[in-house]
């Protein structure tokens, strides 16, 4: 497989994952604000901070309100990781790798692109936001479903899987981080006594993991357990442990994989060693930040070994 094609396939998967997770993030935040008691005010700008996009946002917007943040994340072509921009990148990458991705995927991607262009403005109002976000998430799942159902498990498949799981792991750290931020911001608010459970419930929901969490733990939603579950559960497909296993698995099937496999193994052995589940404030945020840096370093190892 051509190095350049491998890299494009890998990025295709990353961008699709990013589109889905961005939609999930906005959906869950909207939901969270409805659930929290009146008087508890979480800022929308948190979402921009979580994605480390403050500079890019400040360049174009003065007001950090709901409308601007949602527009920035979904429909702003000048934000390089907005849903619209990510989909453009997916199209560019698939357009140039059509020979290795099932032909129907190209059609579904175009369909989703058309959907987003026609509907993203609706998402600015809460009334129609759900339909739009739901459409985006479903569109991504259709594409992934098609790939699961029809794509041959060749090298391209493993590069897709690498990209998908790396991006997914990164997004899971950000969704967890969203929970930590919300906890920190409501800590001293009298009205927010019940906020903790609402917040962590929404974090679970954002990754579609509420049901599986309950079945597995058979316990009420608690921060400590949720964080542990989303980091270390080996079975749920969006946890860090699961994503790292999938990455290791795919990497091992690719040619000249030894240096990559070694880097992954070393990451896996130390990743959960010093997590302090009793302290879900700043220490957890620092840990999540380190995790994002490590994932970035893993990406650099892929580039060096396969894409150059």
């Amino acid at each position: 497989m051509l190095s350049k094609v491998a890299e494009r396939v890998y990025w295709t998967a990353r961008y699709i994952e990013r589109v889905e997770n961005t939609a999930r993030l906005v959906a869950v935040y909207t939901n969270l604000l409805l659930d929290l008691p009146k008087g508890v005010n979480l800022g929308w700008y948190n979402l921009v901070r979580l994605s480390s996009l403050e500079d890019s946002f400040m360049e174009r917007y003065k007001v950090q309100d709901e409308r601007n943040v949602v527009k920035f994340l979904l429909a702003d072509e000048n934000n390089p990781v907005s849903v619209v921009s990510s989909l453009n990148m997916v199209r560019e990458n698939v357009r140039t790798t059509r020979d290795v991705v099932p032909g129907d995927a190209w059609e579904l991607i175009n369909e989703l692109s058309i959907f987003v262009n026609e509907n993203s403005s609706k998402a600015l109002n809460r009334g129609q936001r759900h339909d739009c976000l739901d459409g985006i998430i479903r569109g991504c799942q259709r594409i992934n479903g098609l790939l699961y159902g029809t794509m041959t498990h060749d090298e391209a498949w493993d590069f897709l899987r690498l990209g998908r799981n790396l991006e997914r792991a990164d997004m899971t750290t950000r969704l967890l981080d969203a929970g930590c931020v919300a906890i920190l911001q409501t800590e001293n608010n009298e009205a927010a006594v019940n906020a903790r459970q609402i917040i962590w419930g929404n974090v679970l929901r954002s990754v579609g993991g509420e049901q599986s969490y309950r079945r597995k733990l058979r316990a009420a939603v608690q921060g400590r357990e949720v964080a542990h579950y989303l980091l270390e559960d080996p079975q749920f497909p969006r946890t860090i442990a699961h994503c790292l296993n999938a990455i290791a698995d795919s990497a091992a099937k690719l040619p000249r994989c030894e240096p990559v496999s070694k880097a992954i193994r070393s990451f896996q052995t130390r990743v959960f060693k010093n997590v302090d589940y009793d302290n879900l404030g700043e220490p957890m945020r620092d840990y999540l930040n380190d995790l994002q840096v490590e994932l970035g370093e893993l990406h650099a190892v892929f580039v060096k070994q396969w894409f150059n």
Binding site: S3, E155, R256
Partner: protein
């Protein structure tokens, strides 16, 4: 406005679907009966369905503008153009004959040049040809074939006969659109495929792949075939990607390839892998900065060495463009007679060569009636359609011809055939042409029909998609089976 099939009147031209007002031609009868049975809203629904399909399939072509490159949706008219199988079979035989003779001609030019010595084609035409490559002299590609893929433009004049307008032997494009047009039509007019015996066209990509593998220098079970594209900003990029995908070949850019020890390799995740055959969609002069344009970043340094050493197959072979020249075109009937000792089956359009004093005199005196074309351009650029040109434009072309007579030819303005086309919500005749594709290596193959291109502007004769042309699905209909 509404669609009224009984009123459609193809005046002054040969119409592909109707012989006269209200009278469809035999191959079009069932099609017209069916379309008549649809209400206007239904036709509009089908048209919208076609548009949506094109957007979803992402069928695009790239237009260059000063603001940058724009991807446009492929312009498509849902009413197919029909051709009787009997007439097509004869035309196809003529196309095979033509490409065979052209390949013998090219091979001769790069070896003994018998045809020049025998005085059938004047020697200075080749000497002054921009597309003769001295780097190719003495090379013997497999089967003596240089132009493996040819796109020949056919037009129908008033008499209903097909004429060859030009042969595209360099990097002809359009075949992907021919295939996509059929895919779209099957989606929007599916009922008709049960009722009418429409000849299928889907085997092109397999034929192309077989032809390419036959050029492999290594006789192995699965030769590595790649499609070499200039990249995403080329107007035909969609087609390059489409063909690679359909053939299961790698789509590569020059930077993905490297030449070592006169062999071509591609850079893969597992290291370097040997390449056997390259379907190149890059012009000769950009293929290899070592041999041609040193500034080219699109090509692969050393590619010509590898090809000359016989270590890689190139389709089309470098230098094949020498026969893709509108002056050489004028000699094709003689070329066919010379090499094959046969009469040409499909005629040429009458052509005046401006380097001939007498013919140039005629051209200059009749610029208002003629179409003047440069010898080496494609895409409809740099030509002048006399009857549509202003006095000033004609004067400019007169100067151009006088300054460089070898570079210009002229042809009578043809009464290009028309077909009913949906314009807004009514039917209007629009001019069209046809580009079939011919493949040659050990054997020879012609597509069934080809790509029909339509000049969407009223009265216009320019069908190029870069200049506002559209297209139609082309049906070769076997009238003997069904009627």
């Amino acid at each position: 406005m509404s669609i009224n099939w009984s009123d459609y009147s193809p005046v002054d031209f040969f119409d592909e679907l109707f012989s006269s007002t209200g009278n469809p031609r035999k191959p079009a009868r069932r099609l017209v009966t069916y379309l008549k049975s649809l209400r206007d809203e239904e036709i509009e629904q089908r048209r919208q369905a076609a548009e949506a399909t094109i957007r979803e399939m992402g069928v695009t072509f790239t237009v260059y503008t000063e603001e940058g490159n724009i991807d446009r949706a492929w312009p498509f008219d849902i009413i197919p153009r029909t051709i009787a199988k009997k007439q097509w079979d004869k035309t196809a035989a003529g196309l095979k004959q033509r490409l065979q003779a052209l390949n013998m001609f090219i091979d001769d030019l790069y070896h003994e040049q018998k045809i020049l010595k025998d005085g059938v084609v004047p020697e200075y035409i080749i000497k002054q040809s921009k597309n003769f490559r001295s780097e190719c002299v003495g090379v013997s590609p497999p089967f003596g074939v240089w132009a493996h893929i040819c796109g020949t433009d056919l037009v129908r004049d008033k008499d209903g006969e097909f004429y060859v307008l030009e042969d595209n032997l360099r990097v002809p494009s359009g075949v992907a659109y021919m295939l996509e047009n059929r895919a779209i039509t099957k989606r929007v007019l599916p009922d008709l495929f049960e009722k009418i015996h429409i000849e299928p066209i889907h085997d092109y990509c397999e034929r192309l792949f077989d032809m390419l593998t036959s050029l492999s220098p290594r006789k192995i079970k699965q030769p590595v075939v790649v499609v070499l594209t200039p990249g995403i900003y080329n107007s035909a990029y969609f087609e390059h990607a489409f063909l690679a995908q359909q053939m299961g070949a790698e789509l590569v850019e020059g930077s993905d390839l490297v030449v070592q020890d006169d062999c071509v390799f591609m850079k893969t995740v597992a290291g370097l892998e040997r390449v056997d055959v390259i379907y190149r969609r890059i012009d000769d002069l950009f293929l290899d900065p070592e041999a041609f344009n040193p500034d080219s970043t699109l090509g692969v340094p050393g590619l010509m060495r590898a090809w000359r050493a016989g270590n890689v197959g190139l389709a089309n072979a470098p230098g094949a463009g020498v026969a893709d020249d509108k002056v050489v075109y004028a000699y094709v009937p003689q070329i066919i007679r010379y090499y094959l000792d046969q009469d040409p089956i499909v005629p040429n359009v009458e052509t005046y060569l401006c380097f001939d004093d007498k013919q140039r005199e005629y051209v200059l005196a009749n610029l208002d009636k003629l179409v003047v074309k440069p010898a080496n351009e494609s895409g409809g650029y740099g030509m002048m359609i006399g009857p549509h040109a202003t006095k000033k434009e004609r004067a400019e072309f007169a100067e151009l011809i006088k300054a460089n007579p070898r570079n210009y030819i002229a042809q009578p303005t043809l009464a290009l055939s028309t077909a009913p086309t949906l314009i807004g919500s009514s039917l209007e005749p629009r001019h069209l042409d046809l580009r079939p594709f011919i493949l040659q290596s050990s054997d020879i193959y012609v597509t069934t029909g080809g790509l029909t291109r339509v000049a969407m502007r009223k009265g216009s004769l320019v069908v190029n998609s870069s200049q506002g042309g559209g297209s139609k699905d082309t049906w070769v209909v076997d009238t003997e089976v069904n009627y």
